[in-house]
């Protein structure tokens, strides 16, 4: 498997990562190498095997829909890069 720099650009955009233009080739090489490693899986017939998501094959635990957390809005917002009047500030999204 060999990825082109255009494919890297697309993947980086999907993941919302800015990648410097002069690094594109390195990432294309790196990712192609990793995909080559991963491709060993293709030779295994797994048509009769169920996927495994949790080692104990447990199912999602449910709980009553009650409030368990206290409101710590201000405290949690202290880590935000930009806030105003209890809201997170972001660049303008609507003209």
């Amino acid at each position: 498997m060999s990825l082109t720099t255009d494919e890297i650009k697309n993947i980086a955009y999907l993941a919302r990562l800015s990648i410097e233009e002069d690094r594109m080739h390195t990432y294309a090489d790196n990712l192609s190498g990793i995909l080559d490693l991963v491709e060993q899986m293709n030779n295994v017939d797994t048509s009769a095997i169920a996927p495994m998501a949790h080692p104990q094959d447990m199912s999602q635990r449910l709980r009553a829909d009650t409030i368990t957390e206290e409101n710590q809005r201000e405290h949690f917002m202290e880590n935000a890069p930009a806030t105003e009047a209890g809201l997170f500030l972001v660049p303008k999204v609507i003209e």
């Binding site: 980086a12 991963v38 060993q40 293709n42 295994v44 104990q56 917002m77 880590n79």
Partner: protein, 485 residues
């Protein structure tokens, strides 16, 4: 004082031969003296530690103390610590002060253990050498030109140099066992779901598990017990009682069945390491154990499956870093997309960028079945290999890592070469089993570890098996000469 076991320190505290404040101060001094060189800490918290030590001394005085009260420890910087920076080794979280404690942290605080600080690690726990930290590489105390292993490299180096008696770590693909092996200490990764993941910065959620580093299996047993147990706040945590891990340490190994996977002893293993593993196995035979050759036929697929599952889960988990609610935000974003892209592109290091991209690719439309689903199926095959093996044997043994500590910079150019460093540890995470690494000797003046893998929830068994070896050998008592004073 820094060369005593947790049990010895506990006895000294209870009999008031030493106070927790004195003990804590001793380790703070050691960190000051040695850590400029090692770089094992990202954040030191001496004032908080001394405050907690005073509280510990008060509870020792009034008789309400437990076995760990007053014994200082250090936390990997992946655990959220209320009011203390939790960076996860990343520029992204360089300015992040955790607003709450991880369950592991609150459990250990409740046990009365003063926290000396937060330990260096590969960024977001992605790495096998601790060279991927925003805060710089950690040095191996046995040879400071070499890596300590990773991702919990700070934890391993810190305990190896005795800058803390014990430390926490996390292990997604070998991140406790591999650095424990390379630094000559003991490190255990419990069964997946044994310790709560609440408040641990997520990397690959179906594999991440917290564990401990100590000088010995006994020290690890004592620290693991208060950490483990059910937690409502972690939906994958298992509701099962926690045994007294120290209670069975002295059980005899007479009749113990040890499985040796033939795949772990074939081509690729370093001759010096193989010799040390053989010697350790011979020691176990002397203790009455029986050795049986077993096969884990799908072992060779663990690295491929891991490098789909872990990046896929990481690309999803790390999508939370958007520059909005917390973490790094780029300067002067021109619009929302520019803000997302530059904040993430500027704050994540290369290995994190690589894994997010691999995961994004593997999960993108049309590729899900070929990559993630196939990897999850392979994961079951790997897990079934272990299930079959444990019908025949009590524990499985082999090398922890294929080599001893390598030189800083030696493997940074090729990510795939670096990934092979976890060849013996990754399958254990995929199956969700517990594993421990125990130092079993030196190859060219560098330590090497034996990995002991147990069946689900057999932490007490592998700790017992490790402890019996340590009762009859002294590799775990050796420490790097430069840090003895």
């Amino acid at each position: 004082m820094h060369n005593k076991s947790i049990a010895e320190l506990s006895a000294a505290l209870q009999s008031k031969d030493i106070s927790s404040v004195e003990l804590t101060q001793h380790f703070i001094e050691r960190i000051k003296k040695y850590d400029n060189d090692l770089n094992s800490f990202i954040t030191q918290t001496p004032d908080l530690a001394l405050e907690a030590a005073k509280v510990a001394d008060a509870s020792i005085a009034n008789g309400s103390a437990g076995a760990l009260t007053g014994i200082p420890l250090a936390q990997k910087d992946i655990f959220c610590t209320n009011g203390v920076r939790t960076s996860c080794g990343s520029k992204m979280l360089d300015n992040f002060t955790a607003p709450y404690d991880a369950t592991v942290v609150s459990n250990l605080n409740a046990a009365g253990m003063p926290m000396l600080g937060k330990l260096n690690m590969d960024e977001f726990a992605m790495g096998s050498s601790n060279e991927n930290s925003f805060y710089g590489a950690v040095k191996n105390p046995w040879d400071t030109d070499r890596v300590p292993g990773g991702s919990s490299g700070g934890s391993a180096a810190c305990v190896a140099a005795r800058l803390a008696p014990v430390a926490t770590g996390t292990d997604t693909g070998g991140s406790i066992r591999q650095p424990a092996s390379m630094c000559g200490i003991t490190g255990i990764k419990p069964t997946y779901g044994r310790v709560s993941r609440f408040g641990i910065v997520s990397y690959a959620s179906s594999l991440d598990q917290a564990g401990v580093f100590g000088r010995s299996a006994e020290d690890c047993a004592m620290l693991l017990e208060p950490m483990a147990g059910f937690d409502e706040k972690d939906s994958t945590c298992i509701d099962k009682p926690v045994p007294n891990y120290a209670a069975n340490l002295n059980d005899s190994l007479q009749g113990l069945k040890i499985g040796l996977p033939k795949e772990y002893f074939s081509n690729g293993i370093d001759g010096n390491i193989e010799k040390l593993i053989d010697e350790a196995i011979a020691e176990y035979k002397k203790l009455g154990a029986e050795v049986i050759e077993i096969s884990l036929p799908n072992s060779h697929l663990s690295i491929p499956a891991y490098y789909v599952i872990a990046p896929a889960e990481c690309s999803s988990n790390l999508s939370r870093y958007d520059g909005v609610r917390y973490g790094y935000r780029c300067e002067d974003p021109k619009d929302l997309t520019d803000m997302y892209m530059r904040s993430r592109g500027e704050a994540f290091g290369e290995e994190v960028l690589r894994r997010i991209m691999v995961g994004t690719y593997a999960l993108s439309a049309g590729y899900y079945d070929a990559y993630y689903l196939q990897a999850q199926k392979i994961r079951r095959l790997i897990s079934e290999d272990f299930t079959k093996a444990f019908e025949q044997v009590d524990v499985i043994m082999g090398p922890t890592a294929p080599t001893t500590a390598f030189k800083i910079g030696e493997k940074t150019d090729d990510p795939v070469t670096m990934y092979l460093s976890d060849i013996y540890t990754i399958a254990v995470n995929l199956a969700g089993l517990p594993g421990i690494s125990v130092p079993v000797g030196m190859a060219d003046k560098l330590p090497a570890g034996l990995q002991i893998i147990g069946n689900y929830f057999d932490e007490a068994k592998i700790l017992n098996v490790a402890h019996q070896y340590q009762q009859n050998t002294d590799w775990h008592l050796q420490m790097p000469a430069a840090y003895q004073a």
